[in-house]
Symmetry: C2
Subunit: 524 residues, 2 copies
């Protein structure tokens, strides 16, 4: 997810101190690695390349210290892979003693386009403060510049805005100390006979690794928050790879520690300066606490956590049920928001109805394990909501689920109804195959929704088609240069950005890391 959803609600937070303390105790060990640039490169405008920019190696980065850079000079360094960490630059003077400060601009980018296009031209609606660039005045040289902020990048541009006519500068050492809470030792090599899937798995794992910090972040370049919807998918990939169960547990406790006084869980948490629940509440994200807890229990059998967090999970169901109208259908009005996908025109009612049912089924499983008295209630309401969905959201005329007053057909609605089991497996298979055949209505925008398409295909037994779709989507992203998977990707419109500029897109994004989950869990 991302931070710019505008639904803000004035609420009172009722902090659960015990849960917060548990989360605090689970702050993960961090792993560090020092990386150095591989190449000096240039970026070249190219119509074939994504966003119109490709890179070309100029020389080895070993040559960097021998280059003296004066006013107006610049170099672009390629670290050879995506990194999340802090930069250090050792800068020396060359010539007379420096008689004026060094005025230096540093630009970092995950993609060649960030090296090629000027950030000054940025006109997106998301804050330009996410664009990774800094300027420094260094009064004394030599100097080791330890850049304070953490960056997410592969490419680094150093521009000497000014020195003086009497001296230039050299960059004697440039390094990045990367950080992650993912232990590389936990990864079991895949050794997949299909090289393309093996590569997709590698890139997925790197994506997850770079997003695993003190929490599961959604994107280390931008935002850096703990979002519930992203957490759910990261956790699934994590169970098949790094197996950092405590990090998932920590995140669940964090969400449970900061509900509203009604018990509603925020869509995301800020981690600094202290933990702050965002004032954004999303119908689907709050509900995914239930599924996430269920997935966690399935992976760990951690009954203590399940027992402790169950009331929080069940409360999300109760609050969501309050949104139903007299027909047991989720009501659409201006007082709510569901994410579903990055698609402005998307009617979210049908997907939200299905997501509610989906999570109620997770809740029922947990209630059964816990022998909770709400089992019967859940069973009854699942049946009622399913019946309502079939009665009011299925169009016999259109042969698709429809959403909203406009009877909108969208892929999201079909996929979620299948995932929620509103129709049986056979009908689901027929619907999904027909959907991919006929391609009606609103398609998918994000790797997040693509994940759910793949999950649905596997659920209805279409494993080969699932593999094919993974290759068509994530495989094409690899071919387009991804060394971590991107927040947004539309093979038909590679410049797509919901923010008005692809410069601000995140190119290492948590919700895109799930191919490893599919490939490893389902042995694709």
């Amino acid at each position: 997810m991302s931070q710019a959803i505008q639904q803000s609600v004035a609420v009172n937070i009722k902090k659960n101190e015990a849960f917060a303390a548990t989360a605090e105790r689970l702050i993960p060990e961090l792993f560090y690695e020092v990386c150095r640039p591989q190449h000096l490169i240039k970026v070249i405008a190219s119509e074939e390349a994504v966003h119109g920019w490709r890179t070309e190696v100029v020389q080895s980065a070993d040559e960097l210290p021998s280059l003296a850079l004066g006013k107006g000079d610049e170099v672009i360094l390629d670290f050879g892979k995506h990194l999340v960490g802090k930069l250090s630059l050792h800068i020396g003077p060359d010539g007379s003693p420096p008689d004026a400060p060094l005025f230096l601009k540093v630009t970092l980018g995950e993609m060649p386009v960030e090296m090629g296009e000027s950030f000054a031209e940025y006109k997106g609606w998301l804050s330009r403060s996410w664009l990774q660039e800094e300027t420094y005045h260094l009064d004394v040289l030599p100097h080791t510049l330890h850049m304070e902020r953490r960056y997410s990048f592969r490419y680094l541009k150093l521009q000497v805005l000014d020195t003086s006519v009497k001296y230039k500068v050299t960059f004697d050492d440039v390094s990045c100390t990367t950080v992650t809470s993912a232990s590389p030792e936990m990864i079991v090599p895949l050794k997949h006979p299909d090289g393309e899937l093996a590569r997709i798995d590698e890139v997925s794992i790197k994506t997850l690794e770079d997003c695993m910090q003190e929490v599961f972040e959604d994107g280390p370049k931008r935002d850096r928050r703990l979002w519930l919807g992203d957490l759910r998918l990261q956790a699934l990939a994590n169970y098949e790879t790094f197996k950092n169960y405590d990090l998932v547990k920590r995140c669940l406790y964090l969400f449970a520690a900061y509900p509203t006084d009604k018990g509603l869980i925020s869509a995301n948490l800020f981690m600094k300066p202290v933990v702050i629940p965002d004032d954004t509440y999303l119908f689907d994200y709050s509900l995914f606490f239930v599924a996430s807890l269920s997935d966690y229990y399935e992976a760990t059998q951690d009954m203590d956590t399940l027992r402790e967090l169950w009331p929080t999970a069940f409360r999300q169901i109760e609050l969501s049920l309050e949104r139903l109208d007299t027909h047991d259908i989720v009501q659409d009005d201006n007082s709510w928001w569901a994410f579903i996908d990055w698609k402005d025109q998307l009617s979210k009612v049908a997907s939200a109805q299905a997501i509610l049912i989906y999570n109620m089924k997770s809740a029922l499983q947990l209630a059964t394990i816990l022998e909770d008295h709400n089992q019967e209630f859940l069973q009854l309401r699942i049946e009622q909501l399913t019946a309502a969905a079939l009665q009011f959201l299925w169009s016999d005329k259109l042969h698709y689920f429809v959403s909203g007053e406009q009877q909108q057909i969208s892929w999201a609605s079909q996929i979620w109804m299948i995932l929620a089991g509103v129709i049986d497996e056979a009908k689901g298979k027929e619907l999904l195959v027909r959907l991919l055949e006929e391609k009606p209505g609103l398609s998918l925008s994000t790797p997040y929704m693509m994940h759910h398409l793949i999950e649905a295909l596997i659920q209805v037994g279409e494993r080969e088609r699932a593999t094919l779709e993974i290759k068509k989507y994530w495989g094409q992203m690899v071919k387009d240069g991804a060394d971590t998977f991107w927040e947004l990707y539309d093979p038909e419109n590679k410049n797509f950005s919901p923010y008005g500029s692809y410069l601000i897109n995140s190119y290492c994004h948590a919700w895109s890391c799930t191919p490893s989950y599919f490939i490893r869990k389902y042995h694709l």
Copy 2:
């Protein structure tokens, strides 16, 4: 002086460890004071104002914390007086939790023009890195931003380049911790009946105070180095005001500690990362070591220092005499440089000849005190150089001293010949009065050369005229808004800059601080 003189010489430095250790022991105590802004102001284009900008108070700075600033908003703060120190800004969020970093631009200026004109337009030839502006990305709010560098300013502009649509920021506290090695307790109030002179004295003292740091800096906004020519004038003002004799002593030892292997003293020293003598050597500046030592002895009667530094001083005379041609006149060619004044067309031969004689007379005084065997040699050579000056540099036809092949008449040549006593007091008086009457040839560019005009007027007994000229020059600067005296000032061309832009001029500059010396020493 300033840093951009291009004469660089490849030399070997022969460090005197004992002198360096003495200088190190004399690192001064520093005095700190916390200052806060007085007003929120705006700057307004105005044809009457210096550089075309005046300020207008908008409201009290006490109102600042109540202002929430979003993308594109800015405030300008006026601290009410010139400051040298470090800034701290306490910045808080206003609105939803900050979901994007704050992108902040901070611009500092000594003059309204630095608030009014964009630094992006700067086209001077001095490094733009001296323009005082910084940008910051702050990931976490609230935050106290302790800006690392030391600034020289009165005005502070805060521009919010971006936040996000969900929050703004407030500046809850803004403060500057000033620093100086000048103890305010040492100042004896002047209580001068002439209010204008009293104010000129105040501004002079503030100028000196802000330039007194770990050494006598030439200008705290730019350069910040120890220049010998500036040191000499600062020391004179210091003896009449702050009386920090040890700081002068420290600076003399610093210069003496880093001569070339021939014994030549650099025009200036860099103080960081370690003491480094600049590779700029100026004929006049090296010689002024002699006058500076003589002034120091006169102020302190510190015979130990005199005895220890005398060989260094005498060596400057010896080396300067090597520049004489067979007629005992300073040779002009491409292998030397003298500063004299910021005036490109100025022929420097006559001034240099006079400055050599001037310092030889200082040397003779010191040699007499020390009973040094070079007294006779100095006496003889002073007479020979004086005779040569009168024979070859005085024009009977033009009735002025002339310089160079073009027989150039300049004010600098006349003033220095008078100060050197090449002509007697009566003739000097006649020459100087006629100079100010006829205004021939090249006039003066800097407060540095203005100082020498005033000194010459006093020397020939024209005290009233000296007072008048101080008021016409420094008094007019005060009327034009100076709260410290400027590096450059031409009442006829207030936009003058030798650097191609008045944005980069220094508006608190050591060599401009000497009115207090004149007013207090000579009871003007």
